[in-house]
């Protein structure tokens, strides 16, 4: 144990960066995941199963495998880099892309379940009441699926805060750009700064507990106090 202070500017920077990454990632996940979940809940056939499998892959793949392919896809020689004109690896944007892919199933699955639980009837009723499909989606489907969307958002946020392997593979540890909480804790432990590691790890433990508890309480409320 070599350090004196347990809290410094670098830790705050890390914390803010992590929250920023999780927030941006969650917003992107909701924008991408909700239509995807809707499609998965309504479509039929083989394509739907193929896409559903792709979405679920991050649950079973080791983060290093996912990170490895993402690194190649976003690296200097990839077609993506050629299209964008710059590489995404070792940038904040790259981290967002990686986090979105990594957390996709945790957002899509609860929303899809909520859409499926709703059944076809509410949309049929809306159609017989002159609501166009878009109108019905926003005024009926989204409000009815709100608990599932909420669960998906919280899970996506928490999962992004906690990710490590993918970030390490595609982001490295550039302070203020890609050095997030989980990587910082790893660094502290490697350099034997156990006190600082305790502060961050304990903080994360507490935060996770509060987030999940809040989620359950709010979900219970959204479900109208049933259960």
């Amino acid at each position: 144990m070599t350090e004196g202070v347990l809290f410094d500017a670098a830790m705050i920077e890390t914390l803010l960066l992590t929250l920023k990454l999780a927030t941006v990632t969650t917003l992107v996940l909701l924008l991408v995941g909700t239509p995807l979940a809707w499609w998965l809940s309504r479509a039929g056939g083989l394509w739907k199963e193929v896409v559903a499998t792709l979405v679920s892959l991050p649950i079973v793949l080791p983060p290093t495998v996912l990170g490895f392919y993402l690194l190649i896809a976003m690296g200097p020689h990839s077609p993506l880099t050629a299209i964008l004109g710059r590489k995404l690896s070792f940038t904040f944007e790259g981290l967002v892309v990686g986090s979105v892919v990594y957390s996709l199933p945790f957002v899509v699955n609860p929303i899809r379940n909520a859409f499926e639980a709703m059944g076809p009837r509410p949309m049929e009723v809306a159609a017989t009441l002159r609501a166009s499909p878009w109108d019905a989606f926003f005024t009926v489907a989204l409000p009815l699926a709100a608990p599932g969307i909420f669960t998906g958002a919280i899970l996506g946020f928490a999962h992004t805060v906690g990710e490590f392997g993918v970030v390490l593979m595609i982001g490295g540890g550039i302070p203020g750009e890609t050095k997030v909480l989980s990587v910082t804790i790893f660094d502290y432990v490697e350099t034997l700064q156990w006190g600082k590691a305790h502060v961050l790890a304990g903080g994360m433990l507490g935060l996770s507990f509060v987030v999940i508890l809040a989620m359950m309480l709010i979900e219970r409320r959204l479900n109208g106090g049933k259960r």
Partner: protein, 371 residues
Amino acid sequence: MIEAAFSGRLGSFALDAAFRVPARGITALFGPSGCGKTTVLRGIAGLMRLPGGRLRVNEEVWQDGRRFVPPHRRAIGYVFQEASLFPHLSVQSNLTFGLRRHRGPAQIGLEEVVDLLGIAPLFDRPVPLLSGGERQRVAIGRALLSQPRLLLMDEPLSALDRMSKDEILPYLERLHASLSIPVIYISHDIAEVERLADTLVLMEAGRVRAQGPLAELLADPALPLIHMPEPAAVLEGAVIGTDPDYGLSEISVPGGSLVVPGNLGPLGMRRRVRVPASDVSLGRHAPADTTILNALPARIEGAEQTSDHQVTVRLRLGEDGHGAALLARVSRKSWDRLALRAGETVVARLKAVSLADPARDIAPSEPVPPP
């Protein structure tokens, strides 16, 4: 006119149903469960695209060949078996969901619907706490407020218990009497049909077995209706007199007139009575001393042996036999003893005549008393 023709295979079910009914009054789609009634109704709503379907409502073609108007562009109201209210919206927001999306002037206003269906006391209650009957009333109001030119009802009463049914039926009858929107109504309950329907489309295993005015089909010997355990005739006519002292009214039906208990409303008002076949007996002469109020000349059209010991006789009111259809269920012994034959004129004695629509005389502004 509403002209519909739907055909095609749905899995193992073959549908080939075509009918043409007037775009007024209530048309009942009647038949056993699984005969394709709901499929046809969903096809009319556009909730299901049946390939090879044709549908024309008055001057508008909603489906023909490649033309298919999506459901939200069809001026329909749809009442599902379960009320299917939106649980995330209040009673008021549910009611006005379709109204808010209607373009142009509204023919049916919120107040009118709230009065008609007695919804006012439900406004402050959360949707999940409404009873089955209350929900269905809100759902009917919601459909009406979307300003439909055709109202489709898929067994709106079948998910309800007896009490809730009796609570809603009077509202449906009032709807029938006070609004001019044509209704297509699915039912597998003949009592409901006798009470509400003007036109009947009889379905069987994906096909239309018969279609026409209710009174005619009820007495058609080729159809299964006459062989039901309790066949009845439905007669409709205008009130031509009342006798407040004895509490009776007289209505004129084709081929005669009937004395019915109760004050049936102002002269000229059209009412419907139901005469169960088992309450009609036949004789060659008018009875001399009897407590029976209704004894009418009628001509025998034919007779079917319904069981080993019973005969169902088809009659038409009037000496000339051109009046309304009537059914009489008599024992085979009496039938043989009187040696009655088709074409003969007899006197039909009606033991009981009851209103088919008992609640219609209640003024729309009054609350409906519990039955």
